[in-house]
């Protein structure tokens, strides 16, 4: 039988009609749409048990309380802890994306020697050799922790221990020289201040522990025409803080010292304050000329400041004139001003970026990437993320977010002492260790971080002072054993010391400090110096134009 073209057509018609009453077209239509809802190349969240852990953030020295949601053992979300006495439930914007940092494309996972993959044993032998050949400097960006103590002990015999701290801590240095109290023991008693005069300090934009001032400002100043807390921002440009301040006074960039001097002069001349310091050499009209303000504006500012004590001036950086203004105001060592929060803190020596005649330099991962030392020494830099420094001979992969055990000492600007423990909640990648572990592996006589934390807990327990704030606040005296205390701290509780004694800081100032050209860098949140940010932050700020991105693009 001959198959004709016609047969083929009729057959196809039958097949087509038949196909319509089979599942084929309908199921394919359905399945293909379901396929498009579950494309295999779209990542899906992990399945697994969900739990919430409380800890403290150790990414910067401010140690905000953090609640970390974990799914299948990985952190999947971060929130603040509202019971935390300093951070009060807030985090900095970057904190909310911190759980993604460990997966950052710039994460360091292997030892690198001058850009070439190397190994820990080679790094160890290189460091041991360096130690035997000459002095070694260890630079710490987050002093006061248990690892810092490891660094100090190690460098006592072999070289020097130095710290590279942020501008907030540097702003406290003048009081150390005038009052003899280590700046590590000083803080601002913001909670009792009624007038806060900020010389360009980004108070509402990442200054100090973010939650502390923003919460305070929100409760006592936000949206009020006559706020309980007067925030006066003296700054050349309309920053985020200036935009929200009770008063914004734009002054010429870099003229903060002149303004401080001018204000101090008015205060003393008009006897608005009891004379506690020397008369600044600068006249009000000179100050006006330098700052671009009118002499009357400076007088008004001085009167406003004196009108609502306690008043405190906050410098953005190491500015001695502003510190001197606080002395004139009587705010150094007074309620609502600068206070000494700790009796135990040791003075530390700031790291000078130009360090010569050193054989080797070990930089801890807590040191920000903008600290780029000019030295001939062999540099061993620990870091969790490659921030793009070319200066390090050795790049050593350090634990990232929540990957290491550390204690969290008092935040730099805090008025009261705190102590917390950040335990290691996430398993670190195999090739990773921190500087303290590295040193302990070289010198077995060193106490490990764990032992130091244990010792500190015992010390706290013996002192029987302060309160432990966990699920609820418990006076430390009620703890029956150090184990109980440790258990609480490891679960994310915070120990809070007793209120500070303002009078224990006394500043002697013979003459007005010579003007130092102040160039306070923009807030780390306004223009990020660090190249490593949570990828979400990079994305969101690009899309919202809320903040300027670092010049060099990164993921």
């Amino acid at each position: 039988m001959k198959v004709t073209r016609r047969d083929l057509l009729v057959w196809s018609a039958g097949a087509a009609a038949g196909l319509m009453v089979t599942p084929v077209p309908w199921k394919l239509l359905d399945d293909s749409s379901i396929w498009s809802q579950n494309w295999p190349w779209i990542p899906q969240p992990m399945r697994g048990p969900v739990e919430v852990k409380q800890t403290c953030c150790s990414l910067c020295p401010n140690g905000c309380g953090m609640r970390v949601r974990m799914a299948a053992g990985w952190p999947v979300g971060v929130a603040g802890v509202s019971s935390h006495p300093i951070s009060r439930g807030a985090l900095c914007p970057l904190g909310f994306g911190a759980h993604q940092l460990n997966w950052h494309p710039q994460r360091l996972r292997t030892v690198r020697h001058r850009g070439i993959p190397s190994s820990w044993s080679q790094a160890q032998s290189a460091f041991t050799r360096a130690c035997s050949e000459g002095p070694v400097v260890i630079i710490d960006g987050y002093p006061g922790r248990a690892p810092s103590s490891v660094f100090e002990t190690f460098s006592q015999k072999r070289g020097a221990y130095r710290v590279a701290v942020g501008s907030e801590s540097r702003a406290l240095a003048p009081y150390e020289s005038w009052g003899g109290v280590p700046s590590a023991a000083l803080g601002y008693d913001l909670e009792n201040a009624q007038t806060i005069v900020s010389f360009g300090a980004p108070l509402l934009d990442g200054w100090g522990t973010p939650g502390r001032f923003t919460r305070l400002w929100a409760e006592r100043a936000a949206g009020m025409t006559d706020p309980q807390l007067r925030l006066i921002q003296l700054e050349a440009s309309l920053s985020r803080t200036a935009a929200r301040a009770w008063q914004w006074i734009p002054l010429r960039a870099g003229s903060d010292s002149a303004l401080a001097a001018g204000v101090a002069r008015v205060l003393l001349e008009e006897r608005l304050v009891a004379a506690r310091g020397p008369m600044p050499p600068l006249t009000v009209s000179d100050a006006a000329a330098q700052t671009g303000l009118t002499p009357d504006a400076i007088r008004d500012l001085a009167r406003t400041m004196a009108a609502r004590p306690p008043v405190v001036a906050i410098a953005a950086d190491h500015n001695r004139a502003i510190a001197a203004l606080n002395v004139v105001l009587g705010s150094a060592g007074a309620r609502g001003g600068l206070v000494r929060r700790s009796k135990r803190a040791q003075p530390w020596i700031s790291a000078d970026p130009a360090i010569a005649s050193v054989r080797a330099m070990l930089i801890d991962s807590s040191v920000p990437w903008d600290f780029a030392p000019q030295t001939d020494a062999e540099v061993f830099r620990f870091a969790a993320w490659d921030g793009g420094s070319s200066k390090a001979d050795w790049l050593l992969p350090a634990p990232g977010f929540l990957e290491e055990l550390t204690d969290v000492p008092t935040a730099p600007t805090s008025a009261i002492e705190t102590f917390a423990v950040a335990s290691s909640l996430v398993k670190a990648p195999p090739q990773v260790q921190n500087a303290a572990q590295f040193l302990c592996s070289l010198d077995s006589s060193l106490s490990t971080t764990e032992k130091i934390i244990h010792a500190r807990c015992q010390e706290l327990f013996r002192a029987r002072k302060g309160t432990v704030i966990g699920q609820e606040a418990t006076p430390l005296a009620k703890f029956t054993s150090v184990q109980k205390l440790e258990e609480q701290l490891w679960k994310g509780a915070v120990w809070v010391g007793e209120p500070s004694q303002p009078e224990s800081l006394r500043c002697e100032l013979k003459e007005w400090p010579a003007a130092v050209a102040s160039s306070h860098p923009e807030s780390w949140l306004t223009r990020w110096p660090e190249a490593v940010l949570p990828p979400l932050a990079s994305k969101l700020y690009t899309e919202s134009s809320l903040r300027e991105m670092p010049e060099k693009g990164n993921a």
Partner: protein, 253 residues
Amino acid sequence: MSARYGMVIDLDRCTGCGSCMMACAAENNVPPLPQASARTGLTPMLVRKVSNGMEGVARREAFIPIMCMHCEHETPCVRVCPQQAVEVDKATGIVMQMPQRCLGCRYCMTACPYHARYFNWRDPAWPSGMEKSLNPGVAVRMRGVVEKCNMCHARLHSAKEKAAAAGRREIDPADYVPACVEACPTGAIRFGNLADKNDPASQEARSPDAFRLLARIGTEPKVYYKSKEAWVRALAESTSGPSSKGASEVQHG
């Protein structure tokens, strides 16, 4: 009981830090795509910087967080969606966007006066390994669909589940707080049930300082704003900028 979830955002308290944006994006598994740009980005919560248009000492700036306003009446996006991928939930008043139903026609985006809807112009992607940090309560969207603020629905799910396990019908309000509200360091965002007269958010929404964006269009948005600053109110309530040269600092392009 049928709730009407809404928010009151105190603009005088907003410092423009961006915590809400970060918390929102992290909660909702927004991909950190490196090709991000202001025009094709994905910001279910977007803080916009506005100014009074002046320069020098007279200049004032404020920040306005923009998100889905969860319009109650004639919800523009719900009316236009051809295949019911958006709806106003009867029980909560939340305007729900279902990316899995969406065909990506973007008609809802042209309908939304607040530009609070975002299209997935690209397939989502994370740096290798980062998918382990995804929130398990929120499904990742694929390219070609529209998404927006769903008022952190995953948190409502958890709250409901917790209530069911405890044998309760109603959720505990403390269990359901959207990520942006929780993250705001100044407590500028108040979240609550607007249908409940005793709810603090509902009371604040009725305060004389409260207003809504483009309220005259008549869509009854459930996100309120408040500010004591006259220029902020004038700018937010009016429909045209203070001057023809852009009042907005948000640079598009």
